[in-house]
Symmetry: C2
Subunit: 371 residues, 2 copies
């Protein structure tokens, strides 16, 4: 509670550790460390804090993976807001995950790491927000799995958030979305180096993880963006092997797969994709019923026409649920051709839409403060 | 040339072997065996023969994999037509492929099998049609890769076909379609049992091939058909492992992947997917230019609204090319929700559309014969 936020836009990754976190599965995870970063300055009223939640393979360094949106003068304006981002639990960039040391064995958890959910990720973030001394977030925001965390905040901690920005996301994973993740998991577990998740003293299951990432990348792009970027061109350095992937698109996917294994843990991929697949705001109640206690929260929901992985229909389902629950919700379908990746790449429409929304919410906060 | 076709609708797989086939790559494959089946009776004018071309993993037994469409009283009516289907070269169901014996080594070809193309598949089929004593096919027909072979016939052997039925297909593979195939190939080659394609004396790369098939199956179904078939249900026998695929859709994909490796050769998967990726009727000329010599052929082009792997836009590109070339072409987009698999499953619209088309073509043949 005593840690002082940095005074300007600069940031470095910090760590916050707390004793234990009760998980939705009933298990208890502890100790729990969250790697996080902050940018900007928390104002005296502590009313300008925004929590940014990352997608599947992101990390706390939001100005890197969401550089289009986070920074001085950008939509998440670090001159105006105090921006926070933490690596999710289950991750492998500084927060407690399957590659962390299991305190009961002294070895990496591996598959002894408990099942985690999107709600657990949000619950861990709430500990961080408490630690930072923030009573109420101006906004919780994210794209894809980040949007699911934002949604989880609105139902788990409705009194702690003023608004939610949910981009290219869904209230639950469809069977097709589950299926793509399942292929990735099967590829990882089929790799002989997987060794039931205990590969930390040997070679990790790199080929399996690379295959998983290749599948992912196809789903993140649109047919149109692939056509524009690669077409049917052959790669410049055609490989010697007969099936080395002579097409430029194949070379790109292989490169992306190979690069990914340098920065990501295969077990984290299993746990985090499972958390996404398990996410379902409608599992117990209808969506409007589920959102009953969230009526004080303003929602901004964005989707992209070319995103076939998280199609606009999923965002519209959230919007309809909000409307039926009597929630203030703004929705726009953006025309970017980048596919699902658009939430990371597009700026022309996304920047003003998020920027205007946040300034409107911030304005109403200030007015409330003056009353 | 002397083989007599069976006299009724019964069939069994036969084999036809010829000395050599010059391939589009410049290499020569030989000897070449084609496994094939026929149904129905060739009429005296030899004018009622239809060649059916199978998709990626099909075989000569069309009444099995296309049972909705091939048989007595069905669209490809075996009481009316003499229906022929052969396993493609490069395949593993009786025709010469990478698992066949390489005459120069006495061992299976493995990756010494030459690169084959869709055009090579058609050229091998032409040898079979010659062998059967058929001067001109009433129709050449197929879905998906089968449609590509039909297209190849229309440009390579335009004087040998009266009509072409091209269903859920494309004049070239898009980068997205190439990318999905590339993931499958990478999964196979990443399997430690792959052994550079020489696995015939040991364990085949079953896990890799199963992963490839899982990716394929996702692309064959539609979001809607998956929703209807699985939703977010859990499978009945949830596995003991933490990531065993607890969702019904995951269990289905695993089952399909595991079943597939029992009937398919991984090297054939590599060669045939590559042939599909290399297919491009527009590589050298515009499509109307490419179809200039096909103006005597009538085309039926069908696509399915829910097919996102071979979207209707690809079929419409073919139709536009036909129209610009002055070709008689009929096009319909069918409303099935089955996705790409619809060409194998749908009957309500596909059966009458194909049936009427073939009877029209057959009728004009008969009239011509009477003049």
């Amino acid at each position: 509670m005593t840690e002082k936020p940095p005074v300007d836009g600069c940031s470095e990754t910090k760590q916050f550790t707390f004793a234990s976190l009760p998980l939705e599965s009933g298990e208890i995870l502890g100790p729990v460390t969250l790697a996080y970063e902050t940018w900007g300055t928390l104002n005296r009223e502590r009313s300008n804090a925004i929590l940014i939640c990352h997608a599947l393979t992101g990390n706390a360094h939001a100005t890197s993976w969401w550089e289009t949106m986070v920074g001085q003068g950008k939509a998440f304006d670090t001159e105006r807001y105090f921006v926070i981002c933490s690596n999710v639990i289950g991750g492998c960039h500084g927060s407690t995950g399957p590659s962390s040391q299991n305190p009961t064995t002294g070895k990496p958890y591996g598959l002894d790491f408990p099942v985690i959910t999107i709600g657990d990720m949000a619950a861990a973030q709430e500990q961080l927000i408490n630690h930072l001394g923030i009573e109420k977030l101006l906004a919780v925001a994210g794209g894809s799995m980040g949007g699911m965390q934002a949604l989880s905040w609105t139902v788990k901690f409705p009194s702690r958030v003023k608004s939610a920005v949910v981009i290219a996301s869904a209230v639950r994973h469809s069977p097709q979305q589950i299926a793509f993740n399942e292929v990735g998991r099967q590829a990882i577990m089929a790799d002989p180096h997987f060794n039931k998740g205990q590969y930390y003293n040997g070679n990790p299951p790199e080929r399996g993880l690379a295959t998983a990432r290749m599948v992912g990348h196809i789903t993140y792009m649109s047919d149109q963006s692939m056509e524009g970027k690669f077409g049917r061109r052959f790669r410049e350095n055609r490989s010697a092997t007969k099936f080395g992937g002579d097409f430029a698109v194949a070379g790109y996917l292989q490169y992306k797969g190979d690069a990914f294994v340098q920065r990501f843990d295969a077990n984290s991929y299993l746990y985090i994709t499972q958390a996404v697949d398990l996410f379902d705001l409608t599992a117990l109640k209808t969506l409007p019923e589920m959102l009953q206690d969230s009526r004080g929260i303003s929602f901004l929901v964005l989707s992209f026409r070319s995103d076939w992985l998280y199609p606009s229909a999923q965002s519209k389902e959230l919007v309809r649920g909000c409307k039926l629950a009597g929630i203030d919700v703004t929705y726009a379908e953006l025309s970017s051709t980048y596919g699902h990746d658009a939430f990371l790449l597009e700026t022309e429409e996304e920047t003003p839409l998020v920027g205007h929304f946040l300034r409107r919410i911030a304005g109403s906060v200030e007015i409330a403060g003056h009353v």
